[in-house]
């Protein structure tokens, strides 16, 4: 899994690509969110447009990122889910837990 971060109107967009699975992928996501929070970046959007696979460990890591951010007074939203990831969040009932957005502009403006 690869990640890159950028700032848009004070919101941190994390562009993710590859797989979020047990091992490297989950660790990369965890470390990225922890680093952002440690630096005071508490408005986070995970852009999952290029994430084609998530296993149960990856789902757990998304939940962890969401709750960790929330517990530190921030917000974490998901953007551009692929059908596979969308389906997984639906069957695990997490779709209603996460704030999921379909386009970046509305994701950014939703923090205001």
């Amino acid at each position: 899994m690869k990640v890159s971060t950028r700032q848009v109107d004070g919101i941190t967009i994390v562009d993710c690509s590859g797989r979020i699975t047990l091992g490297e992928g989950s660790v990369t996501l965890r470390d990225t969110v922890r680093d952002l929070l440690a630096k005071g970046n508490k408005k986070i959007v995970l852009n999952l447009q290029d994430v084609n696979y998530i296993d149960s460990s990856g789902i757990g890591e998304l939940v962890s990122a969401f709750t960790t951010t929330k517990n530190q007074g921030g917000e974490l939203k998901l953007l551009n889910l692929t059908k596979k990831v969308n389906d997984l969040l639906q069957i695990t009932k997490l779709y209603t837990v996460f704030d999921v957005k379909d386009d970046e502009a509305s994701a950014v403006s939703s923090f205001k």
């Binding site: 699975t21 047990l22 091992g23 296993d55 149960s56 460990s57 789902i59 757990g60 890591e61 939940v63 962890s64 969401f66 709750t67 596979k84 997984l88 069957i91 695990t92 009932k93 997490l94 837990v97």
Partner: protein
């Protein structure tokens, strides 16, 4: 596994590499059996989750313990077994991941996903550990012909 063979099995180490390897094997075999893209994803993910349970929760990465992975085509079914040499698990202690109080837990969804994706999921203790059996019904051309002739 060539599709002319009925069964193939692998003995694998208790490592992260085994999890990826099991998933790759499942993807390849499901593809060869003619499953559709969605079914291939379901089978490969179920096998991945089963391998995670065997390596992490069963064998706990112990280097002297092995994971046995087998694929078998029997009748209209693809039967997959994943056996570990761990202490076993108590299914009654696995909470429902869909319960509101469990939605934000970071683990405990593996068996639920397997049950969502496969036609049959059975877990039983063995003399040496735990065996997971996953069944997916084959919906390829052979199955279609069989159904049409009935």
């Amino acid at each position: 596994m060539a599709m002319t063979e009925q069964r193939v099995s692998y003995t694998l180490d208790s490592s992260l590499e085994t999890i990826d390897s099991a998933e790759e094997k499942a993807t390849r075999i499901a593809t060869e059996l003619g499953f559709g893209d969605d079914e291939i994803m379901q089978i490969s993910m179920a096998v991945r989750e089963g391998a995670v349970n065997a390596v992490l929760h069963g064998n706990a990465y112990a280097p002297d313990k092995k994971v046995t992975l087998a694929f078998e085509r029997a009748g209209g079914n693809l039967i997959i077994t994943i056996a570990d040499q761990g202490k076993g698990m108590d299914l009654s202690k696995i909470p429902n991941p869909l319960a509101p109080e469990n939605l934000l837990k970071t683990s405990g969804r593996g068996i639920f996903l397997m049950r969502s994706f496969m036609d049959v999921v059975e877990i039983r203790p063995t003399q040496t550990g735990t065996e997971l059996k996953l069944v997916k019904r084959v919906h390829g051309p052979t199955a279609d012909r069989k159904e049409a002739s009935q």
